[in-house]
């Protein structure tokens, strides 16, 4: 699978999932539309296993949760995560509760691919990634893949779990490629994507790519940043985090959603309770988007989203960079950010979402 993009990898994994067993099914609104090229052509290749679903998210997600505890295994794709909010009742009340009540006799491994995003395709109704909402529900794996290997691992693992999995798939990570570190991860938990000794950045989803950009640029200034890809926010590897901050003594946390009641809040709370923040030389810094809802306008949304240059500035301040050095670094990253419009993941993206 070397050399394939994240989206191409998901397509291949979905193909393999359907090929591997006729009782593996896929449900999607617009099943023949390709779903961002990640299921392109599969409705013709596996017409008996791909099901069109109506605009009935609550019943369809409940149906998938239930069906997976019987003869079939289900995979459901929704164009944006907010549509899944119509099915929160089913996810809360019927995710793994039936298995609990039956003394583990009704396992229901299934996979929900809910897309999140940034820039073109987002807007006020598509502002949030909602990962914390799902992570509050017991016995659901909430996965936030960044690299092809992340999704490959999700596909190879989810059907062997006893409970449902949600993959919050960032639209802009569809263009990512694997690194040596992402390819060497073998478990559904956090892993180090870039090793370093001066500063730890904890990130997930698209923010990992922003953190990597900062790490690459700081490397040119003889600073090494350790970037941790949380990957599975319902199964965070706290030992990995603790070991990292003991080593670096400085910490930045990047939230994809709002900072209140967030993933970073949970991590900081857990670390504080176990007295593992005392190793930090300075208070930790957490960053996220600015404002409550994402505006649709490209100009306004530029001000909304967290940028690599902001992370770089926070890193420089923690590392006590002199002003001139900091400006130089932040300026270099700003030039990279301005290479193409801020509302698209790359110069080839032409919308609509």
């Amino acid at each position: 699978m070397n050399g394939l993009s994240h989206a191409q990898t998901i397509l291949l994994c979905t193909d393999n999932y359907l090929k591997s067993h006729p009782l593996n099914v896929l449900l999607c609104e617009g099943v023949s539309d390709g779903f961002y090229s990640t299921i392109e052509g599969l409705s013709l290749k596996y017409p008996q296993q791909l099901y069109e679903i109506p605009c009935s998210e609550s019943s369809m997600i409940g149906m998938a949760l239930s069906a997976s505890s019987y003869e079939v295994t289900t995979l459901v794709c929704l164009q944006r995560v907010e549509f899944a909010l119509l099915a929160v009742e089913q996810l809360v009340n019927n995710s793994a509760k039936n298995s609990f009540l039956s003394g583990n006799q009704r396992h229901n491994p299934c996979l929900f691919r809910f897309v999140i995003g940034r820039g073109w395709g987002q807007g006020p109704s598509h502002s949030q990634s909602c990962e914390v909402i799902f992570a509050h529900i017991p016995d659901i794996s909430v996965l936030m893949p960044v690299f092809p290997a992340d999704s490959k691992l999700i596909y190879s693992t989810f059907s062997s779990l006893n409970h449902p999995s949600i993959s919050l798939e960032h639209r802009w990570t569809h263009y990512s490629f694997d690194t040596c570190a992402s390819k060497s991860n073998t478990s559904l938990t956090s892993y180090i994507i870039a090793k370093g000794k001066h500063l730890t950045i904890i990130a997930y989803s698209y923010n990992v790519l922003l953190a990597n950009t900062v790490a690459d640029e700081l490397h040119k200034f003889d600073v090494s940043i350790e970037v941790i890809n949380l990957f599975n926010i319902s199964n965070i590897n706290y030992k990995l985090i603790a070991d990292s901050i003991i080593n670096t003594g400085l910490l930045i946390l990047l939230d994809l959603d709002d900072r209140s009641f967030s993933v970073s809040s949970e991590i900081l709370g857990k670390l504080a309770l176990s007295d593992q923040l005392s190793c930090l030389r300075k208070p930790p810094v957490r960053l996220s988007n600015h404002g409550v809802y994402c505006p649709s306008s490209p100009a306004l949304s530029t001000e909304y989203y967290l940028k690599s240059s902001e992370i770089a500035q926070a890193a420089c301040e923690l590392l006590d960079f002199e002003t001139e050095r900091m400006n130089m670094l932040v300026g270099r990253i700003a030039i990279l950010e301005e290479a193409f419009p801020a509302d698209v993941p790359n110069q080839h993206f032409t919308g609509p979402f």
Binding site: P54, S59, L65, S66, E71
Partner: protein, 296 residues
């Protein structure tokens, strides 16, 4: 009629069990909400009588009826009401979540309408895997006010799933009468809008007719979705062990009308054998309860 007698008497037994539970509930030892099926037992034995092959049922919070209809183990049910590990859910669920996988009661979910997609998933899985399994969604008139019912009817019809929707319309959601909640008093109109074949009977119909309609609706649902509306009258309060003849929208006159025509009471009053069976079952259930309470 004689052929049906043993099934009618099963309904008598279910009444005895439910009344015994109501009697013991006042002792404050069953510490979970109970939603009794008293007044709604008369048709339950005919469901099991007409099921051929494997079945997967999904109930609402008023789950005693479906548990008894499928002949789940009585002692396990009573133990569950007392919250014991020997209960059918190991004490995890209580009255509102009853299940017995060995007889096909897959789940009972107290959130109104919540178990409907589970029944749909069962039917979807059975159809995709070409298994001859009947899925039953059992719910009340209140669930017809939930959007998810319409989603499920729509999908079941469009995809021709083998599923039987059984809506027991007992006129009340908690203490609120149907007329305050819906503009019409029949539930089949929702299924008809989804082009699903519908069936109806009421507690005022003969047992022969009830048996026939259940047989037809179950047969029909083996090849395409069917919707059965059962018109009953709940004789006890929504949640708890008391008679609530003047609570909420109920009136004495209405209660008297339905109580007078309650088919199980008529059977007990008219048939000495049925009366003896009632007395025996009632005492046996009380004895199970007392033996548990003695250990608490």
């Amino acid at each position: 009629m004689q052929d049906l007698k043993k099934y009618i008497d099963k309904g008598v037994k279910y009444r005895a069990i439910e009344l015994a539970i109501a009697h013991q509930y006042g002792n404050q030892k069953m510490r979970c909400p109970v939603h009794l099926s008293i007044g709604q037992e008369y048709w339950l034995p005919f469901l099991k009588k007409n099921i051929r092959g494997k079945v997967r049922c999904f109930s609402s919070h008023r789950s005693h009826g479906m548990y008894l209809a499928l002949e789940g183990d009585l002692s396990s049910m009573i133990n569950e009401l007392y919250g014991l590990h020997t209960g059918c859910l190991m004490g995890r669920g209580g009255s509102m979540h009853l299940k017995d996988l060995s007889v096909g009661l897959e789940a009972s979910v107290p959130i109104v309408g919540s178990s409907l997609p589970l029944a749909l998933g069962s039917a979807f899985s059975a159809k995709h895997s070409k298994q001859n399994i009947l899925s039953i969604a059992y719910f009340g008139d209140g669930a017809c006010e939930e959007g998810v019912l319409h989603e499920c009817l729509n999908y079941a019809s469009t995809n021709i799933l083998p599923i039987l929707f059984i809506c027991e319309n007992n006129l009340y959601s908690c203490n609120t009468r149907l007329g305050k909640r819906q503009p019409a008093d029949d539930m089949i109109r929702f299924a008809q809008a989804a082009k699903i074949k519908t069936f109806q009977f009421s507690s005022l119909d003969s047992f022969e007719d009830i048996n026939l309609v259940l047989s037809d609706s179950i047969s029909s649902s083996s090849i395409a979705p069917a919707f059965l509306e059962i018109r009953s009258y709940r004789l006890f309060e929504h949640c708890g062990h008391r008679i609530d003849r003047e609570c909420g929208d109920r009136t004495n006159a209405e209660y008297d009308y339905f109580e007078y025509q309650d088919p199980i009471s008529i059977q007990i009053n008219q048939d000495p054998e049925s009366k003896a069976l009632f007395d025996q079952t009632y005492q046996e259930t009380i004895d199970i309860c007392l033996s548990i309470e003695a250990l608490l």
